[in-house]
Symmetry: C2
Subunit: 160 residues, 2 copies
Amino acid sequence: MKATKKQELFMQEAIRIASENIKSGNGGPFGAVIVKNGLIIGRGANSVTSENDPTAHAEVMAIREACKNLNSFQLNDCELYTSCEPCPMCLGAIYWARPSKVYFAATREMAAMAGFDDSYIYNQIPLPPLERDIPTRQLILENAITVFDEWVLTEKKIPY
Amino acid sequence: MKATKKQELFMQEAIRIASENIKSGNGGPFGAVIVKNGLIIGRGANSVTSENDPTAHAEVMAIREACKNLNSFQLNDCELYTSCEPCPMCLGAIYWARPSKVYFAATREMAAMAGFDDSYIYNQIPLPPLERDIPTRQLILENAITVFDEWVLTEKKIPY
């Protein structure tokens, strides 16, 4: 879709962060911002290589910062602007954080041409655990389910 | 599969972390450990509600800690033990971190019975962006692809 003036403003900030991130050598060419009530409340740049954190994608960093600023683990009524279509990890993070809308600029196909091919991970995640390339196996242990019983019974829990 | 004695030891540590996490009120009933050469190099407890970080699942926390300890953004030759089958976000994180094996104790179905239903997110991620419940739209901008050109040309980049 064509961007409104406001949408373009926020997306250009995400793209500026991505471009700056290349120049600084901080990480991959990705940036993101979170917007609430017309204000940017979180920014994120891909910091995988500089922070030695494979989860430090731009969207995850922006979500973490916005949540800290809101003092909440939910992004109610927030919009996420990201310079590129989110990878499956970031999509999962988005579903846990629950912003109301997500906008992206570059597509996953454009990213793949630059060496960032998410399609492999998109294909792996829906597979049954035993059929994935990273072997994922259940160890049968009698007490595996006990913690869930403890959780159901505890009065200390905060549902999320 | 039936656990070997060593596998049982590591998984019981993941389950102990999960149980401790309920008692402390730190977060959900999930724990994880990362093992390399027979040693635990990272531990993680779900800290979503205490840290106001929706990405702070046990697996993500363990991956972050292990990577910091290894001074690397890759978990080569590492095994991840998690008290429960990973959610799609954590699976994405696992594919980016690239441990060699993943073991889980409780299944996603057991987790769903305790109120943690990942099947919704598993179903949403493979959908085309426009068909997802969280509206995900491309904003068409001329310079969306420019950062990838910059990335391809820069000599500063560290591939990941």
